[in-house]
Amino acid sequence: MANAAVVVIGVGNALRADDAAGVLVARRLRPSPGVEICEQSGEATALLEALRGRAAVLVVDAAAGAEPGRLHRLDASAQPLPQRLFGSSTHGFGVAEGIELARALGVLPPVCIVYAVEGGRFETGAPMSEAVVCALPVLAERMTKEIETLRHAETRDA
């Protein structure tokens, strides 16, 4: 669906406790016409390719933070992502690098919003923090609203 008006990319590893948050939020979102939902591991070049040629992208990911469950909405199309939130990835080359590489190459979508939920633990096989579990429906609800707004804006512009 290359012409989807809005693309949602859930990022994370479902086997690593709170790192699953992005993927689980993406799974909560209902597919609808003009909306494409996909999941990624967070590897920068794969994310870059998923951003390429898109008009509006919402990325949802877990982030390192002191307050598990705390939500952030960052407009990556307006400014670089704070490194402190997205410092950890398996190759030292993750979501923030993928988005900044897209910006450097001039292929960052005109609308690129990153939703992040702060996580407390990222160990393989560990359960998710309760606060993160509670944050998932809230985040899904907020993203659903934004998707609707973007879809209508796209339809109006088209």
Binding site: T45, T90, E100, A104, L105
Partner: protein, 429 residues
């Protein structure tokens, strides 16, 4: 006597977590320790008690960049234990899959991890702002590698189509045809890559390495061959543990490998190339010569050129394999469990990857031993720094730190695999 300590909290553009500690005393290098603190991952213990057929999928999880290497060493070792050989078209498909991983892994390392060192950028992102066309070329090249792994392996990361005896499903000639078109572009892009990196400035550093790589009667080595070195080693995978030893060192969670008789050695692109120049395709040989590489390369900084030559070879070889591909009559040869011990070495992008498995009569794994390339290169990385550092002591701290990191990245180290990289600490006294 003045004492000075330089610390770098994190070495980027390597896979996994570790640190470098350098102690300088009265203008001399006292100590170099590559400290790997990525936690041990116990894969060999996970494998015990599992069925032989699970090894390719379990070991693929050791690395997100080179899962194919783990799968290939695992299936070859199992097939050695079970006394089976795969049909020729299946062997060709395995080679094609491995070419995909080389293109993907080398593409990532050359363009996004190592080139910024040579061009003076702190990151690939900073480099991309001023070298858009080159970075795009690298990304597209890597993507072609991903496409091969996706098609033959069933998934880009951690492929799921590899099994002991062959594959679960083999592609049709028709399915491979579009890949051939992409590979023709990739081969041109790889040739451009060789020319591009050949123009970088390389520190004049040479070392007398013991190169260790596979050597095959008529192929550039990927899946098969005898284990040879430029200092007289010539053995089968079965004798690996007789000649090589893994040692625990206090500063690293990864074991360090040595050749029992001679100590540290080098695996990876430089070794493969220097021991197998005559096995490269004419196109790759010609590009290497035009890039100023001799048939043997002992300057580790030129490993980026060698990687580019190998990428070109992998594109060339993948095209040859697709053109000659016959659809196999069966996706896998039948496999019957039996008790035995199997050994295999294959050439991961970073170098030799050894697997040994012992199986009981039901085919359950009773023992596993895996020696990844980065643990084999650890000692040589430290020796490079010991050898080169005395000439760099006049450098400003920042430049020195940079050069140390670049030196480590010559090896494209995969720390996650080796225990699996890097804080840098320089202590001047």
């Amino acid at each position: 006597m003045t004492r000075k300590t330089i610390k770098v909290d994190y070495l980027a553009r390597v896979e996994g977590e570790g640190a470098l500690h350098v102690t300088l005393h009265d203008g001399a290098v006292r100590d170099v320790e590559l400290r790997i603190f990525e936690p041990p991952r116990f894969f060999e213990a996970f494998l015990r008690g599992r069925a032989f057929g699970e090894a390719p999928d379990i070991t693929a999880r050791i690395c997100g960049i080179c899962p194919v290497a783990y799968q290939m060493s695992a299936v070859h070792a199992m097939e050695d234990a079970l006394g089976i050989a795969v049909d020729a078209p299946l062997r060709a498909l395995r080679r094609l899959l491995y070419c995909g991983e080389w293109i993907e892994s080398h593409g990532l390392h050359i363009y996004l991890l190592h080139a910024p060192d040579f061009l003076g950028y702190e990151s690939a992102i900073a480099m991309a702002r001023e070298h858009q066309a080159e970075v795009e070329r690298g990304l597209q090249l890597k993507k072609v590698g991903n496409e091969i792994v996706q098609l033959v392996g069933g998934r880009e990361i951690h492929p799921i189509n590899v099994r002991v005896g062959g594959f679960y499903r083999t592609p049709t000639r028709r399915e491979l045809a579009p890949l051939a078109e992409r590979l023709k572009w990739a081969r041109d892009a790889a040739l451009e890559t060789v020319r591009w990196v050949a123009g970088f400035d390389f520190p004049a550093c040479e070392r007398d390495y013991e190169f260790v790589a596979l050597r095959h009667p008529d192929e550039y080595p990927l899946n098969e061959g005898r284990l040879v070195s430029n200092k007289g080693l010539d053995i089968g995978a079965r004798d690996y543990e007789t000649h090589f030893e893994e040692r625990h060192v206090a500063h690293s969670t990864a074991l360090q490998s040595v050749i029992r008789e001679r100590g540290a050695y080098l695996v990876g692109p430089l070794a493969r190339y220097s021991l197998n120049f005559d096995r490269l395709s004419p196109l790759a040989q010609e590009a290497a010569r035009a890039a100023g590489l001799g048939e043997v390369c002992t300057n580790p900084y030129r490993s980026i050129v060698v990687r580019a030559v190998e990428t070109l070879y992998a594109c060339d070889e993948a095209l040859r394999l697709i053109e000659g591909y016959r659809e196999p009559e069966r996706a896998a040869v039948p496999v019957e469990p039996r008790a035995g011990v199997g050994f295999a070495c294959t050439e991961a992008p970073r170098g030799l990857l050894y697997h040994r498995y012992a199986l009981d009569a039901e085919g359950t794994i009773t023992e596993a031993n895996i020696v990844p390339p980065t643990s084999q290169n650890q000692g040589t990385i430290e020796d490079d720094l010991r050898a080169f550092l005395p000439d760099w002591l006049e450098m400003e701290d920042e430049a020195l730190r940079w050069r140390c990191e670049q030196t480590i990245r010559n090896y494209d180290p995969c720390i996650s695999c080796s225990c699996h990289f890097l804080k840098l600490e320089v202590e001047r006294g």
